[in-house]
Symmetry: C2
Subunit: 500 residues, 2 copies
Amino acid sequence: MEKVREIVREGRRVGKEDPRRVVHAFKVGLALALVSSFYYYQPLYDNFGVNAMWAVMTVVVVFEFSVGATLGKGINRAVATLVAGGLGIGAHHLASLSGPTVEPILLAIFVFVQAALSTFVRFFPRVKARYDYGILIFILTFSLISVSGFREDEILDLAHKRLSTVIMGGVSCVLISIFVCPVWAGQDLHSLLASNSDTLSHFLQEFGDEYFEATEDVDMKEVEKRRRNLERYKSVLNSKSNEEALANFAKWELRHGQFRFRHPWTHYLSLAALLRQCAYRIDALNSYINSDFQVPVDIKKKLEEPLRRMCSESGKSIKEVSIALKKMTKSSSSDIHVLNSQSACKALSTLLKSGILNDVEPLQMISLLTTVSLLIDVVDLTEKISESFNELASAARFENKIKPTVSFNKSDSVSIARGKPVKSQDNDDHVVTILSDVGTSNNVDQSRGESSVESCHHVAIKIDGDDDSIHEKHEDAEIHVHTSCGDQANASEVLNSNNK
Amino acid sequence: MEKVREIVREGRRVGKEDPRRVVHAFKVGLALALVSSFYYYQPLYDNFGVNAMWAVMTVVVVFEFSVGATLGKGINRAVATLVAGGLGIGAHHLASLSGPTVEPILLAIFVFVQAALSTFVRFFPRVKARYDYGILIFILTFSLISVSGFREDEILDLAHKRLSTVIMGGVSCVLISIFVCPVWAGQDLHSLLASNSDTLSHFLQEFGDEYFEATEDVDMKEVEKRRRNLERYKSVLNSKSNEEALANFAKWELRHGQFRFRHPWTHYLSLAALLRQCAYRIDALNSYINSDFQVPVDIKKKLEEPLRRMCSESGKSIKEVSIALKKMTKSSSSDIHVLNSQSACKALSTLLKSGILNDVEPLQMISLLTTVSLLIDVVDLTEKISESFNELASAARFENKIKPTVSFNKSDSVSIARGKPVKSQDNDDHVVTILSDVGTSNNVDQSRGESSVESCHHVAIKIDGDDDSIHEKHEDAEIHVHTSCGDQANASEVLNSNNK
């Protein structure tokens, strides 16, 4: 009884984790019930007879969770059945010419050679990744067809029926998986990367507070919850095999949503690899938040300003990447944050050169300087992540995020909002980006909540992406609908509707 | 033509990487050729007819690279076919009672419910790991048997024949995979761990030289080769999924070699996880060997002695683990090296407290102190690795490495070798280990090569495993058949044979 209850609980957990699993189970049931009508429906049964079982078998084996996996297996199976069927008939014909005593020996040799060769080919990494199942079916069909003790005309009939039932089974799988609540592996990979980068940026944005604030928090539950929230990044550490499988399936998928047939999935994998490297650094950073080997707060404080800026700016940059990925637009402000984090790096090095730590014991510095070094790594990786995303965005032909040039007349209750992006190119080393937005916060605040509106202003000028980059930042602007929230367009729509 | 040549080259590479792959391909060919005799051999064909194809199908699908994987799939398939066959006949019987109009509807419902439920169960992590294939076969067999439009006595006959051919196919796979050049997943996992720890220890033992020696080496090729040799550790970083799969297969395997049926494979996974963590640290260390941000040699030199000792001693400890794993014995000298590395840690901290780095710029210290911090991590991990290995060794009932107490009379050309281990317990916190070995090197040298004989002597006393451990090391001993080479017994055998 306890056992049953436990299974039900586990089932509920599994279903809650991804409700599409329940839907998938129903889809498989539907496909099987449909295909088994080959047996009940007399005209079909008259035609195919026992061969109807190949349709059932195909559905059971081919129907996978995502469209890509199903398509991949279905195509593998159909092509392999076709080719192996042809070769099998050929082998059978060849053997039958040789007379009844030699025939079985010849057939056994054919089967042996074919099976040994194909099995060996399955070890080729490129074959294993995409065509493993196809080769398996090839061995199976060839052996079955070539050795089956039938006469040749029977075999042709057999092969024809088998192929058509396999194709019918495969087609019903593919149709159901595409048209009933489809699960696209490509979409999954895309969302996985967006959420992974979001998780990392969350950690980096919170790291400053966690590291520099006194740990004597009163509410242990609150601390526990925040800590758990921070440690979500751990799922990124082991995401490699999952990402590779998804990219593999995604390559089979047709155009869906905003994804083309030849969407640059390999670019996703390189971005994913960089995010994972960043996650490793974050894992190390995390161990310093609450290590036994605490650095005295007054020493930490000396480096607080640049360190906080380094992690918050690289966090913002990765956040930008996450948002742009989610919206499938190009991102320019990600680069700006990278520049900001690099300038914080420089400020840090100036600070260190000034001898601010000269009277600190080296032993106490170990942990602090390791944190510094990890954050420098993170800033480097952030730049690479931003670059890798830009490559991905242009390979995937993401839209340019065109900022709206809106300007309306002031009425008594409604204020002005102006956005004037002066932007030359997006994916070039020579980028001149001047964002200058004017608006009033009140109305926007009320309609959209505070989060998207911040009172800050960026003027970032980057001339050629080398180290001599000039970088300026003004904090004196009026009110700025902050671009890092990624949807000025939305904001001005809201303003527009307020205007009406 | 170029394409064909490339395929041949790839084939040669794949075969060279693991020659067992070629053997496996031949084994599959053999099994298939054998099973297809069901068709040629008249008495068998008379008995099973078309059902013989289930034997072929079973062989193609079940025969895997390792014994464990084959056994797992075979057992899954046999049990699932049996259970699903029984239930399928039951469902068919139930439906046939309800009259010809309701029957197909009822059958379709059975198939739907069964498929949906089973498909959902496949998402349970524990089921997915071990019984995924079984459930697949369950869905398949149930559907095929329950909907097949035969009369019931025919069905019983069908189910019986299908089950027997499946079992025959499965048994031939299992027999061939066990008796023809078997590939044991357990043995593979065992060797993988031994070689992984060996790789890590190699890096740690070489790290000192790489880090402290001037990088202006003349022979670039030599440097390149050494560097490539060092970076073998990279394979450890991504070994997780491979290790988990092997452990999973190993659980199905029978007693083989020195592995019992219920060998503690989960212990292997925890040891593997620690080794991987260590590899991450090593990856970080590696980036500091040749980073752009070089620390001046004179500053490095100040910390050279304890740092070198830390990494070489932890390297030796992991080497001990690797050797003991390979020989399946318990290891005591691994703990000694852990103690040595910890004492080096303390020496380092004393050195840092003494203010040796006080006049060094903090900026230059970042890289140095990060290296220090990583090495401290490595020393911590080494202790955990040693502990985890000890747990594994006692769970797997590895032999105690009993040091032989040999003593012979001195003759003119032959010298004395004496080994007196005074050792109380092996897996306890309270360990008192005194190794004291006396012998002459000359004869041993000639017969066994220099590597196993070193002129050093350990007296390590550890009283209760806490931080106050007393630790002494004498370098003044006579000649010592070094225990880290793990086979004093062999050495004394050699001496023995020299005596005769």
